[in-house]
Amino acid sequence: MMDTLGPAEWAAIWLSLRVAVVATICALPVAIAIAYLLARKDFPGRQLLNGLVHLPLVMPPVVTGYLLLVIFGRQGAVGAFLYDVFGITLAFRWTGAALAAAVMAFPLMVRAIRLAIEAVDPGLEDAAATLGASRMRIFATLTLPLIAPGLLAGAVLGFAKALGEFGATITFVAAIPGQTQTIPSAIYGLLQVPGEEPAVLGLVTVSIILAMGALLLSEWLGRVMARRVGR
């Protein structure tokens, strides 16, 4: 089966993995912060923030990709700044693919983590405060370990979403082989050409293996963590 995959297909697989891993790792801290704000704090504009976070989940992915292009493209408000100051280009680069994947995965991660934070009894944090623990220490020693299983679930969900992202990615960074062509766009590209069914089948198989692997790994890690957390 694997011999049906040529160098272009392997490049797509490695790129997809890199994009998904980078997207998940970069989005996770931000997702934790936003989820904490939404779960625990009451502030003006909370609903607006909530809506904004969820927008990529409900908008057509192509629209998200277009907005990314407008904002982060070379002429976009943020994109121009990034290029002028740091020399960073996102559009039509693998980093752009990672950004698109992160934005699309973000709402799913925030949702899972927020649920986990809401399940932690704030009374425990109050108790820790009366024992003299600083906010940082409370977060590090109580909140974080207690939400670890939820965090993991959010990360896996985000990873899977990032791995499969298609619409926003292809709009924002196109599908340049070796640069921005991820597994989904490679499959889509191959399907346009007659006689490439074996390569398609290979990529589809790899997709399934990656998704299943992530799921099983998270199940196992989740069980280990739940035991450590004492639930």
């Binding site: 009374g123 109050d126 820790a128 405060a129 009366t130 024992l131 020693t141 370990p145 957390v229 004492g230």
Partner: protein, 352 residues
């Protein structure tokens, strides 16, 4: 010494309390919804009052006037919550040491926690959880201990298991305590000072014996639970009859069983409904304890009862009789009568 004078509006509920808690155990007593937990949370810094001051010793914890508002972390308060709130992912030992390890060895010994150290909170009984919570609060080296109904979630045997620990703390660890409870026998047993809350306000406060023997306190405590608390000394033992003789300023009382050693002080709660009044010295009755007393107050309740404040020596007692009896006996303030106390009526859980 803790001084509290605060106001806080919580929806339709208005908390407006002012009291001083001297050294020893100050019980905050009140029905559920009377504002006890809000009050304790304000002292702990978990709830910010709208106005007022909270001063602990020489430190201002909260002062709306000057804008002082110390974070809970900076108050050095040991808070034992009703639901223990142990950290589920940590061993008992890590829970205990979370806030510090002040006097760790002694705390672990006094509370009997040695065998639990390696266990997880999930595997502990309710009573064990509360003991760990108590130890955790003590090991953070608090200036004051707040106990919010620490026994409310426990059944009677577990309560009986924990109460002696708290008593031992009161007598050995010199940390003042604020003890929230809605159980009069607990209050009578532990407290030195009593503050009664009703609908967010302090309706009575003072030394526990004095407050509990006020006739006006009867409706606040409930007819069943009202009753004086007196401090007595063990004067002797009648071995043949299995009785212990206790003396106090108003005379002597005999109780069944062995209560402490000679000369030891014993706190006695005498429920008002278990005191019978007689105008003449009764003869030929089975009750052992008859005390000459003077009526100090007659307080008519809303129901058919009359609360009668009595003076026995320097101590105050409380009796509850029906209005019909009161008028038939022509009870009046200043009158000398006899109080008949059924010794068996003083339950063992009320003796401490």
């Amino acid at each position: 010494m803790l001084q509290v004078a605060i106001q806080k509006r919580l929806g339709d509920f208005e908390l407006d309390v002012s009291f001083d808690a001297p050294a020893g155990v100050t019980a905050i007593f009140g029905r559920s919804g009377s504002g006890k937990t809000s009050l304790v949370n304000a002292v702990a810094g978990l709830l910010n009052p709208d106005a007022g001051r909270i001063v602990l010793g020489d430190q201002v914890l909260f002062d709306a006037g000057s804008g002082t508002r110390r974070a809970p972390q900076q108050r050095r308060i040991g808070y034992v919550f009703q639901d223990a709130r142990l950290f589920p992912h940590m061993s008992v030992e890590r829970n205990l040491r979370y806030g510090g390890d002040h006097d760790a060895e002694r705390v672990i010994e006094v509370l009997g926690l040695g065998d639990l150290l390696a266990r997880r909170p999930a595997g502990l009984s309710g009573g064990e959880k509360q003991r760990v919570a108590l130890g955790r609060a003590l090991m953070s080296d608090p200036q004051i201990l707040l106990l919010d109904e620490p026994l409310a979630a426990l059944d009677a045997p577990r309560k009986a298991e924990i109460l002696p620990y708290i008593e031992r703390l009161r007598d050995t660890v010199q940390v003042p305590m604020l003890y929230v409870s809605h159980d009069v026998s607990e209050v009578a047993r532990l407290a030195t000072t009593l503050v009664i809350l009703d609908a967010g306000s302090v309706v009575a406060s003072g030394p526990v014996g004095e407050v509990l023997s006020r006739p006006a306190a009867v409706p606040l405590l409930g007819v069943r639970d009202a009753g004086a608390v007196i401090v007595t000394k063990v004067a002797g033992r009648l071995l043949d009859d299995g009785l212990t003789e206790l003396v106090f300023s108003g005379g002597r009382i005999m109780l069944p069983g062995i209560l402490g050693t000679l000369g030891q002080t014993v706190r006695l709660r005498i429920p008002a409904q278990d005191v019978i009044l007689s105008r003449t010295a009764p003869k030929g009755i089975s009750a052992l304890n008859v005390l000459p007393v003077t009526i100090t107050v007659l307080e008519q309740g809303r129901g058919p009862g009359v609360a009668v404040g009595l003076k026995a020596g320097d101590d105050a007692l409380l009796a509850r009789v029906t209005r019909r009896s009161a008028s038939r006996m022509e009870l009046a303030v200043g009158q000398q009568v006899f109080a008949i106390i059924k010794a068996t009526a003083v339950g063992p859980e009320d003796v401490g």
